[in-house]
């Protein structure tokens, strides 16, 4: 087992290097560079800047150099200094901004993930009580949760807050008076008052998905021969369900967990845009639109690394869950 983990970790190194190369390549693909988008932005506002000044800036940011030189500089600074470069758009180091946002992204995503695990429980209930009222209710909400777009649910919840509960401000994770205040109990309570909207929105889709997957898997497993065998040898229904059926039915869900972390970081994008949550998603989108290369590549690299790590974790969980899997 230890050898397996070590081997996987060693394999992660070339994988991450390849990812780094690819993300830098991809972030350079769109036509133009961050300065041409900067210029376009200025022109759209009717501002003026001279061509020479743009060329000087281009030189200053090394945008006039060949791709490999730019990539080498970028990669070298990450490995040697942990420096992901400067965000042109925000005028600050990329790493400083990303870490701050990553903390919010990860904690929101993890909480939403926990909420979505509720779907497993509901799915089990739904499958074991097939065609009961409870099953119909769960199925109804499952479909509803899957089909309502996140941005709509977010707007709807905020609309309800303003028009029916008289909220004095919506959007963001804090009331304006707490947003920049140091942490305190009152600020935490304020956070709880706001954070439920993104959590509910982000959690709903996951929960609904889990209900559907879990219900289908369970029904599939419950009809298998070994279930009849288990019941036939006189095991209690609880043991049959939780020890034999559940363990088999969980496999696809655990496998999908490997994608859950990076997926949720991207998946929260629309929700975060609408609600105005300071997570990675909106930052990433803004960076793409303004061609802030260092920021785009930094976030993509981070998502890549998260994907690699969470895949490892998911594989470990699967090994633990299913002894048949060889490594």
């Amino acid at each position: 087992m230890t050898e397996f983990i070590l081997r996987r970790i060693m394999l992660m190194i070339p994988t991450v290097i390849l990812i780094a190369f690819l993300v830098y390549f991809v972030s350079q693909l769109p036509p133009g560079d961050m300065l041409s988008s900067y210029y376009a932005e200025l022109a759209a506002r009717g501002e003026t800047v001279s061509y020479d000044a743009l060329e000087n800036l281009r030189e200053r940011y090394g945008l006039d150099q060949p791709f490999f030189v730019q990539f080498w500089k970028w990669a070298k600074n990450i490995v040697l200094k942990g420096d992901f470069g400067q965000s042109f758009n925000l005028g600050r180091p990329v790493s400083e901004i990303i870490w701050n946002r990553l903390a919010w992204s990860l904690s929101l995503s993890l909480f939403a993930l926990v909420i979505s695990l509720l779907g497993i429980v509901i799915g089990i209930y739904s499958a074991t009580h097939q065609y009961s009222i409870g099953d119909y209710v769960a199925t109804f909400f499952g479909f509803l949760g899957l089909s309502i777009p996140n941005f709509f649910l977010a707007l709807f919840l905020m609309f309800i807050m303003v028009f029916y509960f008289g909220a004095t401000s919506v959007g963001g994770l804090f009331s304006p008076e707490y947003r920049l205040a140091p942490w305190s109990l009152a600020k935490f309570v304020d956070l709880l008052k706001h954070v439920w909207i993104p959590l509910v929105v982000m959690g709903t889709a996951g929960t609904a998905g889990n209900i559907r997957i879990m219900r289908a898997n369970m029904l599939d497993i419950l009809g298998r021969d070994f279930m009849r065998t288990a019941r036939g040898k006189g095991l209690k229904e609880r043991v049959v369900i939780y020890k034999h059926a559940l363990r088999n039915a969980l496999q696809p869900i655990v496998m999908s967990l490997g994608l859950a972390l990076p997926f949720m970081i991207q998946g929260e994008l629309i929700t975060a845009m609408v609600i105005g949550v300071p997570t990675l998603g909106p930052l990433f989108l803004e960076a793409i639109l303004t061609q802030d290369v260092h920021m785009v590549a930094g976030v993509l690299l981070l998502i890549g690394i998260l994907l690699v790590i969470s895949n490892l974790l998911a594989d470990l969980a699967l090994v633990w869950l299913d002894p048949r899997i060889r490594y």
């Binding site: 133009g32 900067y38 925000l90």
Partner: protein, 650 residues
């Protein structure tokens, strides 16, 4: 002051118009208020000994907000406000220099208005004159080749350091022309670099190798001056060993200074807090130091719907919408959110222009056909477009001199009749231009292809713009012309333009009434977006005939015939007017009248209708300027925030 006044009188003699700024300056200079009051939060700091008394913080002749200031004249004059409170505003884009306004993107955002822009001098919102600011007065030499400026004596930066011409000269030489920082922007007049010479700490002279400096004071309105005492030590070249990284790192919260009413003190990408500048150099008519409100908070909500919800929720005191798509919601929830809806002047006019130099020979020939362009102009259903986006509020825009300008010639405008949607006339013009209908009901170009063009726009910025074009699309379709709406990002738009791949491009033109005295052609004469024109549009100007010839001589950008002849004729007229003496009003009038005729007839570009910007403002906000006359941008920071106050205690 005495000698300055004497020379002012001699100017008065030669030109009454020129003297307006000096009169204003004299008025402010002589009006002495014996006693000054300050905000309670500052009084506390004075009592605690952390801040000098208000009289020592103000310049010897503070700027006074008169009761009859023109921006408030429509509402019966300004009021004496009360101190305190926080004004909440919102934007849906993020401006990097809200966090670090010395950084590379410095000086280009609307936020600047609060912290620096408009502070040296300001365009009067009504009337077109120039209001003195920290440049308290100025005068031109007899021959107009020298501009002398006088900064406000005793003025200070928000950290108490004196503000004087040293800051201006430092910024001009070491920031604007600092190649290490990527700047190479000396001011030029007819190619000659403007030189600033210091006379003493409050006086400087500007010359440009014998060129006329008349009207140059305007440059200072949008110019951004840097605090020499703070950024000097980190400016490469100015200080030995300072690097660009040092410079970019400067200007964070707690380490910046402003000459504007508010200073950014705290913030992140979602919210920035601005606090009053204790050294702000303006007072009201009773000697109360401005600004009235303690703080301004700018919230960033990426989704405009959320801005709307927060207007209704009552969070925002001041918020403007780009298009009134949710006007009904705004109007029906005024009581819930405690706000009024006012309609602010919208001076950003959508304009559409063809690429006269498209590489496709047949297309190019079509775009350069004046009759074709006129037909296009008549095919725009102004009223239907207006009613969709601005029901009952829209106005047509004439692609020419602003109707409020004294040079506007109604007869010339009416003769062209471009306001009116006229499909029959359009069809006739298409036919006359040789683009007749084929058997399939589509008009044909000379090589048999269908008549049509691709119009690039940045539709993600505002989906309503695409809706406006879709209305036009159906009309063109009925006329047998294909309009392809190409909604892309601004980057792709400009890339297509640079690669000369664009056929027609949507952009905005700021259609402001221009100042008759200090008239500069590029202030209003709009330029179609031709790729080769890029450097000209970068400067925000129309190239004069002379410039075009210069380019042609250089053999690079403008090959002969780059412009259709009728464009050149218009450019020639502008150049002719620009070369006239500033006082030759009558001659100019005649040239501008001719210009209007030529320009409108040439159908250089097409404008779509616009309407005012619905702006929500808290019911308890006092001293509101005459919004109908003042352009208010997405964040209404240039709408005189320093004069607003809350009528009720907060």
């Amino acid at each position: 002051m005495k000698s300055a006044m004497t020379s002012q009188r001699s100017r008065l003699f030669t030109s009454t118009l020129l003297a307006i700024p000096f009169l204003v300056a004299m008025l402010f200079g002589t009006l002495a208020v014996a006693q000054y009051q300050e905000a309670p939060m500052l009084a506390e700091m004075v009592a605690a000994g952390t801040l000098p008394p208000v009289a020592e913080r103000l310049p010897s002749n503070p700027w006074v907000l008169e009761r009859d200031h023109p921006a408030w004249a429509a509402g019966g004059g300004t009021e004496i406000g009360r101190y305190g409170g926080t004004i909440d505003m919102a934007i849906n884009w993020f401006s990097p220099n809200m966090l670090n306004w010395y950084g590379p993107a410095r000086g280009f955002e609307g936020v600047d208005e609060m912290i620096g822009r408009n502070m040296l001098a300001r365009q009067e919102p009504v009337g077109g004159g120039i209001e003195p600011g920290l440049i308290a007065s100025w005068e031109y030499s007899e021959d107009g080749t020298k501009l002398t400026i006088h900064t406000r004596e005793g003025a200070r930066w928000s950290d108490g350091d004196p503000f004087d011409v040293n800051d201006i000269i430092y910024t001009y030489i070491w920031i604007n022309q600092n190649e290490v920082l990527g700047n190479d922007r000396p001011w030029r007049i007819e190619g000659e670099v403007v030189e600033i010479t210091k006379i003493d700490d409050t006086t400087a002279e500007l010359t440009a190798n014998g060129q006329t400096m008349l009207g140059f004071i305007k440059t200072f309105i949008t110019w951004f001056v840097m605090p020499e005492h703070l950024t000097g030590p980190v400016t490469p070249g100015y200080t030995e060993g300072a690097t660009e990284e040092d410079f970019d790192g400067a200007g964070d919260f707690g380490n910046s200074a402003t000459i504007g009413p508010f200073l950014p003190v705290q913030g992140d990408e979602a919210q920035v807090v601005y606090e009053r500048n204790p050294y702000y150099w303006k007072v009201d008519a009773e000697g109360n130091q401005l600004p009235y409100v303690d703080r301004v908070v700018i919230h960033q909500f990426p989704d405009t719907e959320v801005i709307g919800l927060n207007i209704v929720s009552g969070l925002l005191d001041f918020a403007s919408r780009r298009v009134p798509s949710d006007l009904a919601v705004l109007m029906s929830n005024r009581e819930r959110g405690d706000y009024d809806v006012v309609f602010a002047l919208n001076d950003r006019v959508p304009r559409i222009a063809f690429n006269m130099n498209n590489p496709d020979d047949v297309l190019r020939e079509m775009f350069r056909n004046k009759l074709f362009r006129q037909a296009i102009q008549y095919s725009i259903p102004q009223e239907r477009i207006g009613e969709i986006i601005w029901p009952g509020l829209w106005e047509a825009n004439l692609p020419s001199i602003h109707p409020k300008s004294p040079f506007f010639d109604e007869a010339a405008a009416a003769a062209v009749d471009f306001y009116n949607f006229n499909p029959e006339r359009a069809a006739a013009l298409f036919d006359e231009a040789g683009y007749t209908l084929g058997d399939d009901g589509r008009r044909k170009m000379s090589d048999g292809r269908n008549v049509g063009f691709v119009l690039d726009l940045d539709g993600q910025r505002e989906p309503a713009w695409v809706r406006m074009l879709e209305v036009w699309q159906t009309e063109l379709d009925a006329l047998g012309v294909d309009l392809t709406i190409n909604s892309v990002t601004s980057v792709i738009m400009s890339e297509r333009r640079d690669a000369n791949q664009n056929e027609a491009t949507w952009s905005f033109w700021t259609n402001a009434p221009f100042d008759p005295v200090m008239f500069q052609p590029q202030e209003y004469a709009p330029v179609p977006f031709d790729p080769g024109l890029r450097s000209a549009t970068l400067r925000g100007g129309i190239p004069t005939a002379e410039e075009i010839r210069g380019y042609v001589d250089a053999g690079v950008r403008y090959p002969p015939g780059w412009w259709p002849a009728e464009y050149e004729a218009a450019g020639d007229l502008l150049a002719q007017a620009g070369s006239l003496e500033i006082t030759a009003i009558d001659e100019k009038m005649e040239i501008y009248r001719q210009f209007q005729e030529v320009y409108l007839d040439a159908a250089v570009f097409f404008t779509l209708p616009t309407g005012p910007l619905p702006t929500a403002i808290g019911t308890d906000v006092g001293n509101r300027p005459a919004f109908g006359d003042i352009p208010v941008t997405m964040i209404p920071l240039d709408a005189y925030v320093e004069y607003l106050f809350f009528t009720e205690p907060q």
